[in-house]
């Protein structure tokens, strides 16, 4: 048994909506799989089925060798879950929350207490340990929820959009924590709307669309298919769009997108900095005036557009914006 998670043809319907449409995948023990997709792709539904919170309408799945339907109770002793929305008790302190979780994993009073303190320390919450969670910031709540998933040191972890809603700094801290975690040899399934998060944390990425897998591979494989960076170029006048397109075609490795109303052209390239240098050199030679030029990583929208030919339905704009959040992200590359 080398697969920590197996899913075969999972189906889940909500009335007329098919949230999971025959989703199949495996996660080898000790590896990290990221489910990448926009809002409504079915990521949370997949996590809920695998963590026994939801019964699938079709297909079957196992986690740590236990069937999610037949063997739910035993399965739960082997998993830790941090859901899309922090599941913590506001009136309890951070320490009390974690102790309660330890008791419910049946660790016993003493170990639950010790484990709670240990995790609070590790997540930088030691100072806030004895304050009610009510007064915690969003980032602190996320961390206490994540700590809750780790109380019993479970071999298989599920994190549903762990960094959504965090500011760039809190996100970077969270990524460090998660990297450390999986370095210890655990199996992790994580969902995300951010290409860079999948890139940073996952061994394998599965792109999900309408409850189906549309691509799977290592982050590098995926980026090769989608193109590495984007050059985004804004010219000063409409008559300069065409010469600029010609210069860009020279380095493009995929379809070029032009937004005439904003005088902006976007194109995927492989060696970003070098490509940008060459393009700017040529534009200068041709006398094309440039208002703005820069590199950015592919957003979820770019991934979708390339893989499916359509834009990510729900989160396109949001993912696009966070794709450009500036220094913090830059530093994480």
């Amino acid at each position: 048994m080398s697969d920590a998670i197996t899913a075969e043809g999972l189906v889940k319907r909500y009335g007329g909506v098919t949230a999971l449409d025959g989703l199949s995948f495996t996660v080898p023990r000790g590896t990290v799989l990221a489910l990448l997709g926009p809002n409504g792709a079915g990521k949370t539904t997949a996590v809920r089925v695998l963590t026994t919170l939801l019964r699938p309408d079709g297909g079957r799945a196992t986690v740590a060798g236990h069937d999610v339907v037949e063997d739910a109770r035993r399965l739960r002793a082997h998993i830790g879950l941090s859901g899309q929305y922090a599941a913590v008790d506001e009136h309890l302190t951070g320490a009390e929350n974690l102790e309660m979780v330890g008791r419910l994993y049946h660790l016993g009073a003493k170990r639950s207490k010790a484990r709670a303190r240990e995790l609070l320390e590790r997540f930088g919450l030691a100072d806030a340990a004895d304050r009610p969670v009510k007064g915690y910031s969003g980032g602190m709540r996320r961390r206490i929820d994540l700590a809750g998933a780790l109380v019993a040191d479970p071999p298989v972890l599920f994190l549903d959009e762990p960094s959504t809603g965090l500011d760039p700094r809190a996100r970077a801290a969270l990524w460090d924590t998660v990297s450390d975690l999986v370095a210890g040899g655990g199996t992790l399934l994580l969902t995300t709307q951010y290409m860079e998060e999948a890139d940073r944390l996952a061994d394998q990425v599965m792109v999900v669309d309408h409850g189906r897998a549309i691509a799977r591979g290592t982050p590098d494989e995926l980026k090769d298919r989608v193109g590495g960076n984007r050059i985004e170029l804004t010219v000063t006048g409409a008559d300069e769009l065409e010469p600029a397109r010609q210069a860009l075609a020279w380095v493009a490795v995929g379809a070029m997108r032009t937004a005439p109303e904003s005088l902006r052209i976007t194109v995927p390239v492989t060696d970003g900095p070098e490509a940008l240098r060459r393009v700017l050199g040529r534009l200068a030679e041709d006398g094309v005036r440039v208002r703005d030029a820069g590199l950015r990583r592919p957003t979820l929208d770019d991934v979708y557009l390339t893989l499916t030919g359509h834009r990510a339905s729900g989160a396109g704009e949001q993912a696009r914006q966070t794709g450009r959040t500036g220094q913090a992200e830059e530093a994480l590359r």
């Binding site: 919170l53 879950l81 859901g83 599941a87 009136h91 309660m100 419910l104």
Partner: protein, 267 residues
């Protein structure tokens, strides 16, 4: 851990969590401790000066009725808290843990029972201060409080069922208020129901609130031979009828609430 110990141990863990929550929410604590005090004083002094029951001081007649009313009000905390928790992700956390699923409702009802007990103690103390007296043996009086606690526990499961069917705090509160007020007021809790017009009197006589109130009055000795009791079985055998009611409530509502909980959290 085996199938018998686990629900109890996990239920206790959840009950402790709820007890902490109650301690940290002054509004809830205020509702359970202050409200009964206000009610005792209000009824004792306002109604007490207007209402007269034959053969005994009104305050002695009143206190068992107030106890029953307070139990009904406090048991609603169970349902209300469940609707609040349903809104948050905390049940997802519980359901992803290898705990006994039944522990959530067991823990909730047990902690609410402890809160109800605290309310009863405060009310009894205030009652004694304003002239309520127990005229029976300590054993009988203890039975009286025991019966009230059993009723409180059983009624918690009723409010849990309603809450899990309705699922929002607003709709739960509306229904709870709409049902509990007539239930309490069309009964013998605050006045001698024999004086009511015929249709209301029949309702009051068969109302379980009257049965519990009558049972408490008998066990505390707050009765008078001058006061004629209704000639229906649940009033003439109030203690037995109360125990029967408690058994019926538990048998019906424990499985029902458990089923509705599973449904409410698994969608």
């Amino acid at each position: 851990m085996n199938a018998v110990i686990m629900p109890v141990a996990d239920g206790w863990t959840i009950a402790k969590r709820n007890a902490l929550k109650i301690r940290r929410s002054p509004d809830m604590l205020g509702g359970v401790v202050m409200l009964p005090v206000v009610l005792v004083l209000l009824f004792a002094y306002v109604f007490g000066s207007a209402i007269h029951v034959p053969g005994m001081p009104y305050r002695e007649f009143l206190l068992p009725g107030i106890f029953v009313q307070a139990v009904i009000m406090s048991a609603q905390i169970t349902g209300y808290t469940l609707t609040l928790d349903l809104r948050k992700g905390i049940f997802d956390r519980f359901r992803s843990l290898p705990m006994a699923p039944s522990a959530v409702l067991i823990g909730q009802t047990v902690s609410d029972l402890l809160m109800n007990l605290a309310g009863l103690v405060v009310m009894a103390a205030v009652g004694l201060a304003v002239g309520w007296r127990v005229h029976t043996s300590p054993a009988e009086a203890a039975l009286g409080f025991g019966l009230l606690m059993l009723f409180a526990y059983a009624f918690s499961w009723v409010t849990a069922t309603v809450a899990l069917a309705l699922r929002t705090p607003e709709s739960f509160n509306n229904i709870a208020t709409m049902v509990s007020f007539p239930l309490v007021f069309v009964s013998n809790a605050f006045l001698d129901s024999s004086g009511l017009p015929a249709p209301l009197r029949v309702v009051a006589e068969w109302n379980p609130v009257s049965t519990f109130t009558q049972a408490a009055r008998e066990l505390f000795g707050n009765t008078s031979s001058a006061l004629k009791t209704a000639d229906v079985w649940p009033i003439r055998h109030a203690v037995a009828a109360s125990l029967l009611w408690i058994a019926v409530l538990l048998v019906v509502f424990v499985p029902l609430a458990t089923r509705l909980y599973k449904k409410a959290v698994s969608s």
